[in-house]
């Protein structure tokens, strides 16, 4: 800090200060955008917000914990602007941690025209989302259905053994949202994969 300098060198100091603050400024602006992916990573690691991974995970081979049962509830919802329905074959299952399970979901396009949609998952309590591993899920990609078409899609998941003991119920909610062509093109949260409807 140029506090003891004379006025003449003061101009030099001003230039230096301005350069430095501009660098900090640019850094902070970039940081704001960096926070978006950082937040996603943070959420995935800590389970903040009940976000789940949006790509397939590997099965963790571990012994099934038969000493306790966890209830997994499934709730399906469809948002406005989409003549689709999403149903689940069973509303809830009781599983042992460590075990892998399969549940079947049905998509149906009630409308007359083809359209695209994406099921957005959310897990509650959010702490459980770190321990929920999806080996296969329809939610990894968007779906395209012709008018009147129906599609069965499986969810294969595993609750890992390190699921905290106080979590006895895990609720998985899928909300169907319409996909507008523009939306699919640019997403800050990674590319949305085009799924095949078969």
């Amino acid at each position: 800090m140029a506090s003891h300098d004379e006025q003449a060198t003061g101009r030099e100091g001003v230039r230096r200060t301005v350069t430095r603050t501009l660098v900090v400024l640019a850094g902070m602006f970039a940081f704001a955008f960096a926070l978006v992916p950082l937040y996603d990573v943070f959420c995935e690691v800590t389970g903040l917000n009940g976000k789940t991974s949006n790509s397939a995970q590997m099965l963790v081979h571990e012994e099934v914990d038969t000493s306790r049962m966890v209830t997994v509830q499934f709730i399906t919802r469809a948002s406005a602007g989409l003549p689709w329905e999403l149903d689940v074959q069973t509303r809830q299952v009781r599983v042992h941690p460590g075990q892998s399970n399969e549940v079947s979901f049905t998509f149906r396009n009630r409308g007359g025209d083809a359209s695209r949609a994406r099921a957005v998952p959310s897990v509650s309590p959010s702490e459980a989302s770190v321990h929920l591993r999806k080996l296969s899920c329809f939610c990894f990609q968007e779906q395209r259905l012709e008018g009147g078409e129906r599609l069965e899609a499986p969810l294969v998941f595993q609750l890992t053994r390190d699921l905290p003991a106080d979590i006895k119920t895990v609720t998985l909610v899928y909300t169907l949202y319409p996909v507008q062509p523009a939306q699919a093109a640019v997403s800050p949260h990674g590319p949305i994969k085009e799924g095949d409807s078969a």
Partner: protein, 544 residues
């Protein structure tokens, strides 16, 4: 706005002496062009202050529309759509148009005078950053006339209400906020450059008056968080216009992310609006106690501590969005800790008064009211920090009471205190004593009548941002509305005081207040247009 400037608050003779100074060989432009092109820190400071006062009245009128509608249950004057625009605009204008520019204006005027600098480090940039403001706020106000109306989603503009569900004018709202943000950033750069480089020879950092210190720290906060705000609103802009989904769950985005980013900016922003107030009060209390500020070093350190902690508490605005338990606890603890350095400040002010020699001129009255009422706001802040209790307080009038106590009898009273304190230096005259006292007492009564009952309506269960309410909240709202109109009307007295003070009044000497010691009191009153062209002699131990 600029063309209707009231009589120049800078002393008239300053124009007369201007001729032979500074830009030798160029005749200084006169009239409107003089104000458009000025690079003088005192003139720009005055422009900022006048702009901020104008915005204060516009934002105040919006508040009075809100209070008039809330005077009784039922919808009488305005429809909910318009009511929401009024609450939103009131918040945006008061935060970005009134409080922040007022502090920048005070900094422009006083920082060079307090550190013995001839002007701000970057005078032309200074002019530019001011003139961005009228552009930004004309644009913002014009959104009210656009189809679908202006912003109606609260000053916190939570997504998706402010993106997918927003009125078409939102793009212009974002643009105006960008411009205002750039103005703040440029102002901050200028202040930092001035403070770090242009201090009088011999003045070390720890010799600087606290107003300079608090503004230095505030400027760093601005540099750190305004770009984050710019980032957030850019993301909004992209979500609205370019089909991205940063905050749109339908495209894999997250509305809660918006709140994290907003409050990462928003909480330091709260301190941006209060730290310079600490500086002003820390100048006034010692002056009128005729005693050195108690714990100068602690004050500086506490300000720095508050600034650092302000980056670690943002999620206390989000206790009910469903954070995990650990996050909830973390932010509760950090928020409670911020009470410690804040408490230190209040204790130091009281200790400064203890065994002083106290007199009650208008600046001191406002400063004392600041200490008491800001502390009341601090107490409710401490209550809000208790996360389980916040489940009941959150988004109610209790919160409205809290932040208005911090910002109105807090920040605003400090600005008024500063104005009364430095008016003799700006105009060469003391403000009219009787009128100032009337202004003070009516303001104190008005402000408490407005905001104190809000604690009760909030605890009784009244949510904020509603145009109509259940019958059990009626009495509180009658009181609040009456208080608001009283407060609003009494601010007209302030305008009267300023006009009278510019025109004439009791002449003030260079050292207008007996106990005042900082460098600004060594130049004549009114301060000539150019001061400290040769650096003053600064004796470090004169003050500390």
């Amino acid at each position: 706005m600029a063309s209707t400037l009231p009589p120049k608050p800078t002393p008239e003779h300053s124009t007369a002496t201007a001729g032979g100074m500074a830009e030798a060989g160029h005749a200084r432009p006169r009239g409107l062009m003089r104000w458009l092109l000025t690079t003088n820190h005192k003139e720009i400071g005055s422009l900022y202050l006048i702009f901020s006062l104008t915005m204060f009245f516009i934002g105040g009128i919006f508040a009075l529309v809100v209070r008039a509608e809330l005077f009784q249950p039922g919808l009488q004057l305005v429809q909910p759509e318009f009511f929401n625009q009024m609450t939103t605009m009131h918040g945006l204008i008061m935060v970005f148009g009134a409080i922040m520019p007022a502090f920048v204006g005070l900094a422009n005027w006083m920082v060079p005078l307090q550190i013995g600098a001839p002007d701000m480090a970057l005078p032309r940039l200074n002019n530019f950053s001011f003139w961005l403001l009228p552009v930004a706020f004309t644009l913002l106000l014009s959104t009210l006339l656009m189809p679908g109306g202006g912003p109606n989603f609260g000053w916190t503009f939570y997504a998706p209400l402010s993106t997918t569900y927003a009125p078409p004018s939102t793009t212009f709202f974002i643009l105006s906020l960008h411009i205002a943000g750039i103005s703040s950033i440029l102002g901050a750069i200028n202040i930092i450059a001035t403070i770090l480089n242009l201090r009088a020879p011999g003045m070390r950092m720890m010799d600087m008056p606290l107003f300079v210190w608090t503004w230095l720290i505030t400027a760093f906060l601005l540099i750190a968080v305004m770009p984050v705000l710019a980032g957030v609103i850019t993301m909004m802009l992209m979500d609205i216009n370019f089909g991205t989904s940063f905050f749109n769950a339908a495209g894999g985005g997250d509305p809660v992310l918006f709140q994290h980013l907003f409050w990462f900016f928003g909480h330091p922003e709260v301190y941006i609006m209060i730290l310079p107030a600490f500086g002003i009060v820390s100048a006034i209390i010692p002056t009128f106690s005729r005693k050195r500020l108690f714990g100068y070093a602690s004050m500086v350190y506490a300000t720095a501590a508050i600034a650092i902690l302000s980056f670690l508490v943002w999620a206390h605005h989000m206790f009910v969005v469903g954070l995990p338990l650990v996050a909830e606890l973390f932010f509760m603890y950090t928020t409670m800790l911020i009470a410690v350095p804040t408490g230190v400040k209040v204790f130091n002010w009281v200790a400064t008064m203890f065994r002083g020699s106290i007199s009650f001129e208008p600046p001191m009255l406002f400063a004392l009211a600041f200490v008491v009422q800001f502390t009341v706001g601090g107490f409710s802040g401490l209550m809000l920090a208790i996360s389980p209790a916040d489940f009941q307080y959150h988004d109610t009038y209790f919160v409205v009471a809290h932040f208005h106590y911090v910002l109105v009898p807090g920040a605003l009273f400090a600005i008024l205190a500063g104005a009364y304190y430095w008016l003799p230096k700006w105009t060469g005259h003391y403000p009219h004593l009787r009128l100032s006292q009337w202004h003070f007492w009516l303001s104190v009564i008005g402000v408490n009548l407005t905001f104190f009952p809000m604690h009760f309506s909030g605890l009784a269960g009244m949510p904020r941002r509603i145009p109509d309410y259940a019958l059990q909240f009626a009495d509180f709202n009658v009181a609040s509305s009456l208080g608001a109109f009283l407060f609003g009307a009494s601010q007209l007295l302030f305008v009267l005081v300023i006009i009278k003070c510019v025109r004439g009044g009791e002449k003030a000497p260079a050292k207008a207040w007996e106990g005042a010691e900082d460098l600004e009191w060594s130049v004549p009153s009114p301060a000539p247009l150019h001061t400290f062209e040769t650096p003053p002699d600064f004796h470090p131990h004169r003050q500390h």
